[in-house]
Symmetry: C2
Subunit: 205 residues, 2 copies
Amino acid sequence: MAKRWQRRKEARTAEILEAALGQFAQKGFAATKLDDVAKSAGITKGTIYLYFDSKQALFEALAQGSIGAQMDAVKAQLENFSGSSAELLKLVLNTMGHFAQTSDRVVLPRMVMAEAANFPKLAQFWRREIIARGLGIFTFIIRRGVERGEFRAVDPEHAARLCVAPVLMIVLWRTTFARFDETPYDHQALIETHLETLLTGLKAP
Amino acid sequence: MAKRWQRRKEARTAEILEAALGQFAQKGFAATKLDDVAKSAGITKGTIYLYFDSKQALFEALAQGSIGAQMDAVKAQLENFSGSSAELLKLVLNTMGHFAQTSDRVVLPRMVMAEAANFPKLAQFWRREIIARGLGIFTFIIRRGVERGEFRAVDPEHAARLCVAPVLMIVLWRTTFARFDETPYDHQALIETHLETLLTGLKAP
DNA sequence: CAAATTAATGACCAATGGGTTATTAATTTG
DNA sequence: CAAATTAATAACCCATTGGTCATTAATTTG
């Protein structure tokens, strides 16, 4: 006979977060029921409150975790890179593009945008920790290229946004409209076209 | 002594929609209270139900109105244009860029994205009516440029997305993070950098 | 100006769901 | 193996809010 439940203090937090990610991503913050999160995690609602203070705390814990690390990994590649800036841009954009195409964490940006008005603190956190860092990476690469005479004299702040914009587009497409595509859109080809066009457009004359 | 209320059947619908736009944009669908919408429109909740069947119907009416027209206006310029494709792309992108920077309707895309999972019908409508048309405009311009030998041989479907991506970025920035900018970001300069880079990147060799 | 019409109200209902807590039982301790 | 501990439950509370409807009064009609 199966036990009614087991004590698994260590595993619960991660399981609850995982379940909550699915529900929030699917329904949005307000429409998500904690009973459903609990069911999805194989526990009951009361248990959630042993690990998180409130629904809001659960949401914030989610939105703050795990994407920053990805960014740091990319950043680490920057310092020691010795090739051309074009190669560096290719490397980074391919890494991010791959992440955008495959990770299930990409639902987070859409969540944050959707709830930014209700959670100003959270929006500010993202603006500072995630977006600023992401843009910083591209600003660094562009500036490097301009300084080394590889790219034409372009404003790094603006150019950085041009770099990420298509990646953002992929993320939003995947999490919003992809399911209505009868033939799946080829995101990788978009990244490649983006790289060709962008690098040609940036090249010093 | 002021009357307690007036009968204004014709004006109500628009007023309710306007009020609802503000609330939905600010709070999201689920977190929006119809009492607040009513208060913002200067009426009571019951009155809303004289004009709309349900909260969902109100949301859908909003999300389906008014942005398609903007697109048609742009489309009309396409057919008779006789200048270079680069000029045409500049014209269209500046028009859309201006709209993205100034219109209060740009909260709609974010709303739709946020609620797409809860309103699949609506997402499909947007995908078909708004996005497909928007991409169609750019696909047309790119194809025109390639056929006339002005642009290099690039896939119009992919290139079209590269065109809009920065506009989308402006929309999302404005509606999510702009309020945390101590110095406002110069979106117009982004559009200009985008145009320079993109046109250089697309030019036939 | 009286009667008929209907736009608008506001009190009300019922369901939903966030959060609490007394109780249970799995696990640990001595 | 008995006692103590605590992870987990599940029944419960109650504030919120979408939606309804009987009533009111602004407006129109004849």
